[in-house]
């Protein structure tokens, strides 16, 4: 009896309450978001790329109809991000749903003005997931978001995969919401974002003679932030060096000129790289010793010399190359932008907590003066499948 009564009560309550529910097909599933500065400096323009499931996933027994385009991109403006998003509802027939968003693209201009509200909005909302990628772009974010890519049907998905398999080139940090929030909330370490750029790379199938008529999205480079404001870019080589500090790098290539032929190159593929930072407490300004070791393989060679003959030379060149990259990165971080994006402060804190407490309030001023020594070694362990090489007759 009791069981029945309770059951009836539950049934009545549940049917009365009818908490607002929307089926999955009544949602506009967002797959990418672009954030630009609006028409006035205080406003923000949000571009969303919405998936049209019926066209993105082909026929499933139901007539799909419509334009046949897999995505639908719309724009709205508002004073805050949330207002802009609510304004989308004026013309979106379905509720804009963010949970499946792959990527947030921020325009450089907007980023330079500060992204604190953006971070707050996207981490406050339970609907959003924390492994959404974040990237900055010098192009209009709206354009980046609505660019159709060749291989994937949904562009957001394409960028997602670009990030995921980016480790092959290792030229941009893989910053997702969790990491961005973590480094933003950390007082002494500053956030970095990946750089996305539109480049004319694609070749149209219909007009192959017009090379580069299609724009493609390229992931390479890094945007540097000071707290929430963007301060500038890092180039490809600097980004590679940065990745050594903040991520695990197990891939990438370096091209090194042959020892015997000045116009021919040997290509080395990085198999693993590891970096250790040793802080040294000395007076008011700490110094650091950076120790990098790389393991590389010879993957392409136009040189005359055999693998064995070149080995020492290539190892040395590779070591120097990495050292140069790190030096260039340090120059940018310490001299140009004056922000600690390398987590050096954290490393120092871990090792010397009491010393750190003394200097941490002045870290911003101390960091540019910090002395950093670099020791870079490389090890060439294999020439992949071959061991000898055909002698090319000189001349």
């Amino acid at each position: 009896m009791k069981v029945n009564k309770i059951f009836i009560v539950i049934l009545v309550i549940s049917l009365l309450s009818g908490c607002g529910k929307r089926q999955i097909n009544e949602l506009a599933l967002v797959s990418a978001v672009g954030i630009d500065q609006g028409s006035s400096p205080n406003s923000v323009r949000v571009t969303v790329q919405v998936v049209r499931p019926a066209d993105a996933r082909g026929q499933t027994g139901a007539p799909a109809g419509g334009t046949g385009e897999p995505i639908y991109s719309v724009q709205a403006e508002g004073k805050t991000i949330f207002e802009a998003i609510r304004n989308l509802a004026r013309f979106s027939s379905r509720r804009v749903y963010w949970a499946h968003n792959f990527i947030i693209v921020i325009n450089e201009k907007f980023a330079r003005a500060g992204i604190a509200d953006m971070i707050d909005f996207f981490t406050r909302n339970p609907e959003l997931r924390m492994n959404t990628w974040i990237a900055a772009t010098p192009n209009p974010a709206s354009e980046v978001v609505s660019t159709i890519t060749g291989l994937e049907v949904v562009p957001g998905e394409a960028v997602d995969k670009l990030f995921r398999y980016n480790e092959i080139v290792s030229e941009a940090p893989r910053t997702n919401m969790t990491r961005l929030q973590e480094s933003y909330l950390n007082e002494y370490t500053h956030p970095v974002l990946a750089r996305l750029e539109l480049k004319n790379r694609g070749i149209s199938n219909k007009k192959p003679e017009e090379f580069g008529s299609l724009k493609q999205i390229e992931l390479s480079g890094t945007a540097v932030f000071k707290h929430d404001k963007m301060v500038g870019w890092l180039n490809r080589a600097q980004s590679r060096a940065l990745l050594l500090f903040i991520e695990n790098v197990d891939s990438g290539i370096e091209v090194i000129t042959c020892p015997d032929l000045p116009n021919q190159d040997a290509t080395l593929e990085v198999k693993s790289q590891s970096l250790h930072v040793k802080p040294i407490a000395s007076g008011s300004v700490p110094s650091f010793h950076v120790d990098v070791s790389s393991r590389v393989e010879l993957s392409e060679s136009g040189c005359l010399a055999t693998f064995n003959e070149m080995r020492g030379y290539l190892e040395e060149q590779m070591g120097n190359r990495v050292k140069e990259q790190i030096e260039s990165l340090l120059a940018a971080a310490q001299k140009k932008y004056k922000v600690d994006i390398l987590k050096l402060g954290e490393i120092y804190e871990n090792e010397y907590p009491s010393e750190w407490r003394r200097i941490r309030d002045d870290w911003e001023d101390i960091f540019p003066q910090v002395q950093i020594t670099i020791d870079s070694r490389a090890e060439l362990t294999s020439a992949v499948l071959k061991i000898t090489k055909k002698k090319i007759p000189r001349g």
Partner: protein
Amino acid sequence: MKVKITNGMFVALIMTIIYAKAIGVTQGSLAREIGHDMWIATILGTLQGIVMMILTAAILQKLPDQNFIGFAEALLGKWAGKIVAFVIFLFFLFSFGPIMVTFIYHFKDYFLPEAPIYLFIVVALIVGIFGGFHGLEVMARMALVGAFAVVCLNILLLTGSLSEFDIHNLRPVMEKGFIQTSWASRHYDTDWALATVMAGMILPMVKQSEKWVKAGWSGMILTCIAITMWPILEAAVLSAPVTAEYIVSCMHLARGAHIGIFLHRYELIMIALFSTSSLIQIMMSLYCSAHALSKIFGVKDYRPMLIPAGLALGAFGYWLVLDHLRAISFTEKEWPLISLPIAFLLPIILWTFGKLFRRKLSRS
């Protein structure tokens, strides 16, 4: 037939009744106070909890058929029993606030933001009364299932977030100093207070009174092991400042967990497992407060008292949860002030009186 549960079930009850709030809400409060040393505070809290649990078990071993209320009654007469019953009722009444904070902020804020709060209260009360009505034995069996769920949840979370583990975030240890860290452990103390006061109510229904002490401390240690994983992961994966930002920080950790590319989010499964612990908290506080009420009004059976107890607890929970800020400030400020004196002083006072009236005790 008198209901008896085994010591293993008692351990499972301790584990499930502490777990739900300790991993989420408590860790956020700890992070706001002492940063990444949350896990140390949790362990320090456990040490205090073990002492109080052993004391509780030792007191009740003197009169193995009586709970705290019966013990006070046997020593100091009927009115003392009623006062203790009232104190215990108050404890569980206020405990329902943080319990509801845990339950509702997990479910509502992360999964059903549009559902009205009263729905959660009503459903929780229905389940709680349904479970309380079936009695301790069923709840204890449920706790076994709950303990299994806790283990599953821990494994799921571990597999999903270990890839982002960053040991740097945990160092340096004891940044804020020992005193502040141990002072912060009061937040975890409020969690185990639920377990010790519960033990004071249900221990007489546990078999083999000579094993109570061992079951008590081993339960506390197992709970500590199950819980400490969370602050360590929260600090290492999320970092302390991020943990401190959130009311329910464990959900934030769970939200980031993912297995491979396909299963990019599975906090739904985790929260389903988590809910066993949370619902057992609800059932248990209803059951214990109904027991205390029945002693206050001198009713033989506690079952009819489930309804008034449920209404009182539900009303308080609803009022508290309605306002996020009020809920968190109550959980962090007022709740330790209410729960800790009861959790510490009640066993100590009873123990002292037990010493004083030793002769009376041996006679009864």
